[in-house]
């Protein structure tokens, strides 16, 4: 199977057409395109939204409008206000900024660790490979989140950097497995031999020749990792271990809303709908990218 489909990825002219091909396939997938557009809208909503709200309505995430605390949606406050009188729409936008920063940074951490681990194991092979993949297997079947919970609480840290690093550090295993598989199937191919004959060292072969040829799956799984990381952050925030007040992410907003949903349902509905739909869209886009970029697992 590998032998019949892979050459198209390797030779330079055909390699370009892989991306063109993938782009064409992706555009035909209406759900994936819709999801992509939705994510772009969400990015604008979170990044630009707070400025617009400040310019047009004079709203921000921290000003307390005590006279209008805990009120339902209105023309002035589209998502309502929280019990302290803060505008929920702007809080949701600001929470989105933080949630997206966490998601992208932690995914980047997972990406670097996973790609390095997987490509080393796959390229070196033999006993090293076996030992490295054994570690992945063990971590895979283990509730690593539990360790993060314990670490976050005993360290008593409010540092976001630690949060990014920890969430990233527990999510790299799938990426390592995928990259290893790809590298193993590629490492004996002629273009690798050619590079070696030209005097390229192992580091250069992996970084310049093997990893670029596994970019497709890497992009796909990075996209699918984003929603997963967002959910992990939300999970930690619900337990009071993630993003700390006065900062708020979607996770903390939704967790707060879930507590007060019986009395003030809009505290939950706004952030929860925005967060769940973004996660939903990211999953859809990831699936679409997989169908487009990774014809082997495509749902033909």
């Amino acid at each position: 199977m590998v032998a019949t489909t892979a050459p198209a990825r390797v030779e330079a002219p055909a390699g370009r057409s892989l991306w063109a091909d993938a782009w064409r396939r992706l555009r035909r997938n209406r759900m994936a395109v819709g999801a992509g557009v939705y994510i772009a809208v969400m990015l604008v909503f979170c990044v630009v939204g707070p400025w617009i709200a400040a310019a047009v309505g004079g709203l921000d995430a921290t000003t307390q409008d005590i006279d209008h605390g805990a009120q339902g949606p209105s023309w002035r406050h589209w998502f309502g206000t929280d019990p302290l009188g803060r505008d929920m729409l702007v809080r949701t936008m600001m929470g989105g900024r933080l949630a997206l920063i966490v998601a992208f940074t932690a995914t980047a951490v997972a990406l670097v660790v996973g790609v390095t681990w997987g490509s080393t194991a796959g390229f070196v092979g033999g006993r090293t490979d076996e030992a490295m993949m054994r570690v992945v297997d063990v971590l895979y079947g283990f509730p690593v989140v539990v360790f993060v919970i314990v670490l976050m609480s005993v360290l008593q840290t409010k540092s976001l950097v630690v949060l990014f690093a920890l969430i990233g550090a527990i999510n790299w295993m799938t990426m390592a497995r995928i990259v290893r598989g790809q590298v193993m199937s590629l490492r004996h191919r002629e273009f690798v031999e050619a590079a070696r004959a030209l005097g390229a060292g192992p580091g250069r072969i992996v970084a310049r020749h093997l990893i670029p040829n596994t970019l497709g799956p890497i992009i796909v799984y990075a996209t699918l990792q984003l929603p997963h990381v967002m959910l992990t952050e939300a999970f930690l925030s619900f337990l009071g271990l993630g993003v700390q007040a006065p900062e708020a992410s979607w996770g903390t907003l939704v967790a707060e809303g879930a507590e007060k949903m019986v009395v003030y349902p809009w505290l939950l509905i706004g952030p929860a709908v925005v967060m769940a739909s973004t996660i939903f869209a990211l999953n859809f886009l990831g699936d679409g990218l997989r169908d487009a970029l990774d014809p082997q697992t495509r749902k033909d």
Partner: protein, 305 residues
């Protein structure tokens, strides 16, 4: 097969040792301790407390004592509650076990049904509907799903109790909350496994022999198509354990997860390390069972090993 089991068990012991050691030292290296109070206790009291829990000994002696205990599955006394760690696990684990088994049953039953349906009606309406349902299951965090289910089925329709673990009916909502996330993943794994399997030669042979479509899908196809799902059982159970922290909190179930989270706030070292080792032991055994199950499901794997 026997070599595989022995090898895995040896590996499991190493894993348990690593878990015990890492949690032992990580907890002690962290700032703050279980007996920090707003007002410091008199020195004599502190001395007594430290003596009782052997905290006055050098760390390495404590570590040796701890490892000897772990080997006998004895984690000592809780530092906050008048119970041994063994008692805490025995009292609280059954609630979590019932919740987990029920949740996993829901996840596997519905997930496999949805996945087979999707594979069978590939790229048609049923497929898209099943995959959308499973994506929703994956995308909605359990601390949102839980309260929403409570609002609808307990406070709105009065069908089910909103919280607490009293009788079978009170487990339905929490188990559904916990299980639906994994239902989504299992449905997707079943679908891709079935699609792969239904293309194989032996399926064509079965069809050519005139085996009914139902038997082809549910008997011949499902057997191999389920392998990705079996592989996923280890990670799924690991996820159920961390998921139980949230669900037990939302539904006020006195399970082990609830206890564990409380112990984190109390910095109750013996309980934390004890429960971690307990979880790890359980998962090591489960993953071993999964490895054995491969051989039972697919004779080709058995022969290769």
């Amino acid at each position: 097969m026997i070599r595989l089991i022995v090898g895995r068990l040896a590996m499991g012991v190493v894993v348990l040792w690593a878990v015990a050691t890492v949690s032992f030292f990580a907890l002690r290296a962290a700032p703050g301790g279980p007996f920090d109070e707003e007002r410091a206790a008199p020195p004599e009291v502190m001395r007594n407390i430290e003596e009782r829990y052997h905290l006055n000994e050098p760390v390495l002696v404590q570590y040796g004592r701890f490892l000897a205990g772990v080997a006998r599955f004895d984690f000592g006394h809780s530092m906050k509650r008048q119970q041994t760690v063994g008692e805490i696990i025995r009292n609280h684990a059954p609630y979590s076990a019932r919740l987990g088994v029920f949740a996993l049953t829901i996840a596997i039953t519905l997930g496999v049904l949805l996945g087979v349906l999707a594979a069978h009606r590939q790229n048609r309406l049923g497929d898209h509907a099943a995959m959308t349902i499973s994506l929703i299951g994956i995308s909605v965090p359990s601390f949102v799903l839980g309260p929403v289910l409570i609002m609808v089925f307990a406070l709105g329709l009065f069908w089910l109790p909103p919280a607490r673990a009293e009788g079978f009916s009170s487990y339905i909502l929490p188990a559904a909350t916990l299980g639906l996330i994994y239902m989504g993943t299992i449905a997707r794994l079943t679908r891709s496994g079935m699609l792969e399997t239904l293309r194989q030669d032996y399926i064509r042979t079965a069809r050519a022999k005139g085996v009914s479509e139902r038997a082809v899908v549910w008997k011949h196809g499902l057997r191999l198509g389920l392998i990705p799902v079996v592989t996923y059982l280890g990670p799924a159970t690991a996820g159920l354990i961390s998921g139980s922290f949230v669900v037990e909190k939302v539904f006020q179930i006195p399970g082990l997860g609830y206890s564990f989270v409380a112990s984190i706030q109390d910095r109750d070292y013996p309980v934390l390390t004890g429960v971690l080792v307990f979880y790890a032991t359980f998962l090591v055994l489960l993953n071993l069972a999964v490895d054995i199950a491969y051989g039972v499901i697919d004779p080709r794997i058995r022969d290769k090993r």
